[in-house]
């Protein structure tokens, strides 16, 4: 249908396309004869995900068109690869570079912006690029083939994204920033420091407060090095400018429309320019002296302009009155969030902040003067709370009495502060890209029986724009499912449709002795870091073969795999067994000799033994050779297994002691040493009711009485302390061991992976009475089997280290390099308090850079 009125849109970028999409959706193609000029050689594509081009996405993958012939089908004329070059406002015509000359009734400018290239001498050298279009990226990619290093000028959002792209292309990347911190528009100094540290640890060099004054060209006019105001220089093979954007406003400027002082065509709340027949939307538009360099406000402008052009009645028409510029993104894997009044500019506002330099987390909240409302904040390193906090701010939700709890890590035994999505009103806008409220999402979950985020995306469009609301959508989903009483599956992982308990019984029932046999019959795929160690543990507590047998070794977590505890630098610590905490002077000396010889950091553990740190993987066998010669055996500190049975000195020395607590502790520890379980097991024996060994904080604790021993079970220290409960009183040692055999095996059979006895007990239906019935009264008739299973484990005990060093195939695994006997050069020790400790990143930054760069 040919209409009489022409609607011309200049620019087919993200916002121009959105405008036309809305127009088609609103059924306005009959009213208007729609023509658009598209300077680029292709229709609109997703600039936000431009960088994914370097991860193998093609231009076609990035297209925004829902169908390839969307424009044709909708009857919209697109002048592809043709740039509008003049607007005649008198005659109301647009002329293009290719000579198209057409009249317009309404004109929409959606010409976006261009990257600003600082006026530095030499900025036209070959190898200088900007980062805006697919063509820019293609050019970068072609040039980068011959390069080793690349520099990004500008440490803002885009600059960092660009640096990451350089890394992906295999270049050594640096970011040169004129300001004194990264992302100076969004985050403060504290956040900037943490972000810098993170970015550097990912291999991008960051140079701050560096003013580039010249780009020195080589003989062929290519980039050779950069010169800074402080006279420093930097060699580089290519440079990408990412120093901000400038509106592409040459057309409206020469057409005489009202412009901003520093560019941009001025629009009102209807997105109308100073000429009522011309609208401007997206990054070319200046609204109340502000350019919006993000896609969401541009999309909003697209709707507003359409309402105005379509003549939507004022009471229903949308207006543009500014836009929340909060952002959350992942830069090179680092969470960065900034929202509202991030810098605390509001008079009288309060700031609470939290910095954890070790984990590189920085969080800050800006509170209203009365501390009741959230005005803004910054989150670096962990922005998981972004969605909720941002919503708290937008919806002015009243804060809890101690707002700092919103950003502090959850403390021991504490509950996370109530800030779940259930606190948000239904009217809260969750997805600002597509203007989807919580109410709409909840309704979709209920009506369409959604169970995952892709479902929400498909039904509501939420989360399909910039993606920043996805985690909030997930939280809403979780809380809605929970409300509806929909349970989440207990399957171990994607490889087994069974719980740990089911797998343990399948292993027993079918006498399966290897992971491969189990996954072949009852699972699928190759396994993973969840099911492999779980099955290894089940195999060990059922059949008790050496964990480094060929069939089992690949299943083990690194600690079990190398029979030692891995530390943050990849070295290991060694903990020989010291049953009951009783150690002879000769043993003490032997430990000292070994520690000294191998330069190991020595420390007493909480479990009454000695921990020797800093052993390199290839040193472990030699260290153990000497320890075994001195009479030690593995302490299983590396395993999810029985750790220690602590004791007080008891009646042997103590004037209050009523039983030999040390003797019993040694007996108990030696019986269960090496026993693999769903999680670690700790125990203690106290010689009297004064409880000096703290037995009531253990998985099983024993306290001596005049008449024997009291047994306490399912206690816990650690993250969530819980007192053990009295299970049986005045036991003889023999009865005590019998009960323990049953109790431990029952726990091993039925607990989930990585579930300590305390949490296992808390979930046990029937509680203490049920547990007593099963173990003491044999209500399930399984006690004989439980005892037999334990008897098998006890009878087949072997010192894992002794076996390992006597068998060449196992020994062979303990080496840093398969093709060299050199030690791992990345391990660097420094001295502290007279002992070695691994260097922190800051102390070995240069060294690591050299290693990674070689």
């Amino acid at each position: 249908m040919i209409s009489s009125k022409n609607l011309v849109v200049i620019g087919n970028g993200m916002v121009g396309h959105k405008f036309l999409e809305n127009l088609v959706e609103a059924g306005l193609t009959g009213t208007w004869n729609v023509i658009t000029f598209c300077e680029e050689p292709r229709h609109a594509y997703d600039r936000v995900y431009l960088s994914s081009f370097f991860n193998g996405k093609s231009a076609a993958d990035l297209t925004l068109l829902s169908r390839p012939d969307f424009y044709h089908e909708s009857g919209i004329t697109v002048h592809l690869g043709d740039k509008a070059v003049a607007i005649d406002r008198e005659a109301r015509t647009v002329t293009s570079a290719k000579g198209v000359h057409i009249p317009y009734d309404q004109l929409v400018l959606a010409t976006g912006s261009y990257p600003f290239v600082p006026p530095i001498k030499g900025n036209d050298a070959k190898g200088c690029f900007v980062y805006r279009t697919i063509e820019d990226l293609e050019a970068m990619q072609a040039w980068a083939k011959g390069c080793k290093t690349g520099v990004v000028v500008g440490g803002g959002l885009l600059g960092l994204e660009c640096a990451s792209a350089l890394r992906h292309m295999g270049l050594e990347a640096s970011v040169v920033q004129a300001a004194s911190r990264l992302m100076n528009m969004q985050i403060d100094d504290g956040g900037g420091a943490v972000l810098r540290d993170k970015i550097e640890s990912l291999g991008v060099k960051v140079l701050l407060a560096k003013d580039t004054v010249e780009i020195v060209k080589g003989t062929e006019g290519q980039v050779e090095r950069m010169r800074f105001a402080d006279r420093a220089e930097l060699q580089t093979d290519m440079i990408v400018f990412s120093a901000g954007i400038r509106p592409r406003d040459e057309l409206p400027r020469s057409a005489g429309l009202v412009m901003g002082e520093r560019g941009g065509v001025v629009i009102d709340d209807q997105c109308r320019t100073s000429d009522p027949a011309i609208y401007a939307i997206g990054e070319v538009a200046l609204h109340r002296n502000r350019i919006y360099g993000l896609v969401a406000p541009g999309y909003h402008m697209a709707k507003v302009a359409l309402d105005a052009i379509a003549g939507t009645p004022a009471e229903r028409a949308m207006t543009f009155t500014g836009f929340d510029m909060s952002t959350k993104l992942k830069l090179m894997g680092v969470d960065v969030g900034s929202f509202g009044d991030a810098f605390g500019a509001t008079p009288g506002s309060h700031v609470v902040s939290y910095t954890d330099s070790q984990h590189q987390v920085y969080k800050k909240l800006v509170l209203s003067p009365d501390r009741k409302a959230l005005l803004g904040g910054i989150l670096i390193g962990d922005a998981s709370a972004y969605g909720a906090l941002h919503q708290f701010m937008l919806n002015k939700v009243a804060l809890p009495p101690a707002p700092e709890d919103l950003i502090l890590p959850v403390r021991e035994g504490g509950k996370p502060v109530g800030m779940g999505p259930e606190h948000l009103p239904d009217a809260a806008t969750i997805c600002s890209c597509h203007n989807v409220t919580k109410g709409v999402i909840c309704a979709a979950i209920a009506d369409s029986k959604l169970v995952d985020v892709p479902g929400i995306k498909a039904c509501t469009k939420a989360g399909t724009g910039c993606g920043s609301c996805v985690s909030l959508c997930k939280d809403i989903l979780k809380s809605e499912l929970k409300k509806a009483g929909i349970t989440v599956s207990n399957h171990l992982c994607e490889h087994f449709p069974h719980s740990r308990q089911e797998l343990a019984s399948l292993v027993r029932l079918h006498q399966l002795r290897s992971f491969d046999a189990l996954i072949a019959r009852h699972g699928s795929g190759r396994g993973c870091e969840i099911c492999k160690p779980t099955v290894a543990s089940i195999m060990a507590s059922t059949w008790n073969e050496h964990i480094l047998e060929r069939a089992h070794a690949p299943l083990q977590d690194t600690n079990d795999r190398f029979l030692a505890n891995i530390q943050r630098d990849g070295t290991y610590s060694v903990v020989p067994r010291v049953a009951g905490g009783e150690l002879t002077p000769d043993q003490l000396i032997a430990l000292g000799v070994v520690a000294k010889k191998y330069n190991l950091y020595s420390k007493i553990t909480g479990g009454q033994r000695v921990d020797l740190f800093g052993a390199r993987v290839e040193q472990l066998p030699a260290i153990w050779g000497e320890l075994i010669a001195a009479g030690f055996e593995s302490g299983h500190a590396y395993g999810k297994a029985l750790r220690t049975v602590k004791s007080c000195v008891g009646s042997t020395w103590c004037r209050y002691g009523v039983q030999d607590s040390v003797g019993l502790a040694i007996q108990v520890e030696n019986r269960y040493k090496g026993l693999r379980s769903p999680h670690k097991l700790k125990s203690a024996v106290s010689g009297c009711a004064r409880e000096c060994a703290e037995a009531q904080s253990k998985d099983f604790g024993i306290i001596a009485t005049e008449n024997g021993y009291n047994l306490y079970v399912c206690g816990n220290g650690g993250m969530k302390p819980q007192h053990a409960l009295l299970f049986a009183a005045d036991l003889t040692p023999a009865r005590l061991l019998q009960i323990l055999d049953r109790f431990l095996m029952f726990y091993i059979r039925t607990a989930d992976r990585l579930e300590r006895t305390a949490s296992w007990f808390n979930k046990l239906e029937g509680g203490l009475d049920y547990l007593k019935a099963v173990i003491l009264d044999d209500s399930l008739g399984i006690c004989a089997a439980l005892e037999a299973e334990m008897e098998h484990v006890v009878a087949t005990y072997q010192d894992e280290w002794k076996t390992a060093i006597s068998q060449p195939d196992k020994l062979k695994q303990f080496r840093a390099f398969v093709n060299s006997d050199l030690p791992d050069p990345s391990i660097v020790m420094v001295a502290e308090r007279g002992q070695p400790r691994p260097a922190f990143w800051d102390e070995k930054r240069e060294h690591m850079a050299a290693l990674l760069g070689s």
């Binding site: 990912l202 870091e529 695994q813």
Partner: protein, 138 residues
């Protein structure tokens, strides 16, 4: 500075991780360095090779001769440990899991499976007369 990231696309392993012998293609530059015998790598585990100062984890998936080579540097813990991770798959993607904080890495591309923006280097690896050889840039 760390330049330890040659482009992931250089990996000549085809996407379904077929046997190394059939998929290895020599690249323009670099040399094939023999590292160890296939039998030196326990099935479903990795070993680390030191090649020209670079630490490269060589991972054997399954009982056969499917091999991958990936940087040994774990960018999350900043330790040289990936060869000591657990080998497995996620949704069919062969992966190794960092032994420190447990992030998974696609063995074919070096793509971190838990942090989309992290990609670590991968290298070409092949089996030549029972010997495992790695192509590490010239």
């Amino acid at each position: 500075m760390p330049a330890d990231h040659p482009p992931a696309r250089e990996n000549p392993m085809n996407t379904d991780g077929a046997s190394a012998t059939s998929t290895a293609t020599a690249l323009a530059e670099g040399v094939w360095t023999p590292v160890c015998a296939l039998a030196d790598i326990v099935p479903d585990t990795g070993v680390c090779a030191l090649i020209g100062g670079r630490q490269i984890a060589i991972v054997r998936v399954g009982q056969g001769d499917t091999l991958y080579a990936i940087s040994n540097y774990d960018p999350f813990s900043r330790a040289m440990v990936l060869a000591r991770g657990i080998v497995g798959d996620r949704g069919g993607i062969p992966k190794i899991t960092s032994p420190i904080y447990k992030q998974g890495f696609d063995l074919r591309s070096g793509q971190c499976l838990d942090e989309p923006s992290i990609v670590i280097p991968v290298y070409a690896v092949r089996l030549q007369a029972g010997m495992v050889e790695v192509l590490a840039g010239g």
